[in-house]
Symmetry: C2
């Protein structure tokens, strides 16, 4: 960046409604100037309120991304607000973050040798109106891991086990867990950058 | 990481024979302990010595990755040495880094609206013997950019224009130049991590 020029061409500020450090890092790297705000929402309540007939992991990710963005937009009507959420689908279930080492080992053992899906949603909200809502999916094929492999991984990962769904950070040590992946890295990391860039370009917010 | 435990299970050190900060960052993030060494090689000479009948961009990337690793292995026979190189293929030509703003604008204008290929090679060398040599390709489809778009991009990119082939850093502002990509991000960034991980696992160098 030279001087104060940025990719962002409009006067309205941009806010990322997510506390995830990796999301902020991704958005910053590609040149967006933004601030971060916390959306005070009850995620489990929103999940439970969805019509159970249509409650897919993709729809839950969309609903949570939108709820986060709407909550932050309420207090910042003039800003463009990006909400983001990711759900992990494994054998028709949704996995959440674990809180104990034992849970981590059990979950990793169940996922070993099998595929799971990461659904990454983003919502863009302005003046409490949703102007973009999108979900993209990546498929991750975990290697077949022995109990000893999993224990070694958990020893090395430390507290990172409890910070992400699936007990791994793909951008870090977690990469060693996988045989292959099918999907973009930004989708795996939880912030579909290409969708964000395309939306803001079409909305006339970017300088090129 | 907890204490001094790492993913690396052998006594022999690991050396990355590349000066690229992004390559070192990628390798560090996935938990490899390593040092960086500079390979003192004449890249254009090695490129010119390849048999011209078979001188493809892939083969040049392989030859340069191997030459870097061999040069560093010579002084560090006991180490595992990773050499890496990347070539950019555009319309049957190989593009190199540019040195002036005018060259950057001209090159970007020629690439606008078209696809190019990034070929990322890695070589692993030990005791001056090549034990792994691999090249992977990503295809990048650049958006159609106006002369004004390119000038705006060049203003924002600053010196980054001259630090990478193609005048862009995909992990940064360069991402805005593309309509779509077909290939893994580690391949685009110049260090095929999955190949590296698979090789060292098969060589018995990893703890899991």
């Amino acid at each position: 960046m030279t001087g104060s020029k940025t990719i962002w061409s409009t006067r309205e500020p941009l806010i990322l409604a997510s506390q995830s450090p990796i999301r902020a890092e991704l958005l910053k790297k590609v040149g967006f100037p933004f601030s971060v705000a916390t959306a005070d929402i009850d995620e489990r309540k929103i999940e439970n309120e969805l019509n159970s007939d249509t409650k897919t992991p993709q729809k839950i990710a969309r609903a949570l991304a939108e709820a986060k963005a709407l909550a932050v937009s309420h207090d910042n009507p003039n800003a463009w607000v990006i909400g983001a959420d990711q759900t992990l689908e494994f054998e028709h279930d949704i996995l959440h973050k674990v809180v104990t080492r034992q849970e981590a080992e059990t979950q990793l053992l169940s996922m070993s040798g099998k595929a799971h899906q990461l659904h990454s949603a983003i919502a863009v909200v302005r003046e409490s109106k949703t102007v973009s809502l999108n979900v993209e999916t990546a498929v991750l094929n975990m290697r077949t891991l022995s109990r000893h492999d999993i224990q070694t991984y958990c020893d090395l990962a430390g507290d990172a086990l409890f910070q992400s769904v699936g007990c791994y950070q793909f951008e870090g040590l977690g990469r060693h867990l996988f045989a292959s992946v099918d999907g973009r890295e930004d989708v795996i990391l939880g912030l579909p950058l290409d969708s964000i860039i395309k939306f803001f370009r079409s909305a006339g917010c970017l300088t090129f």
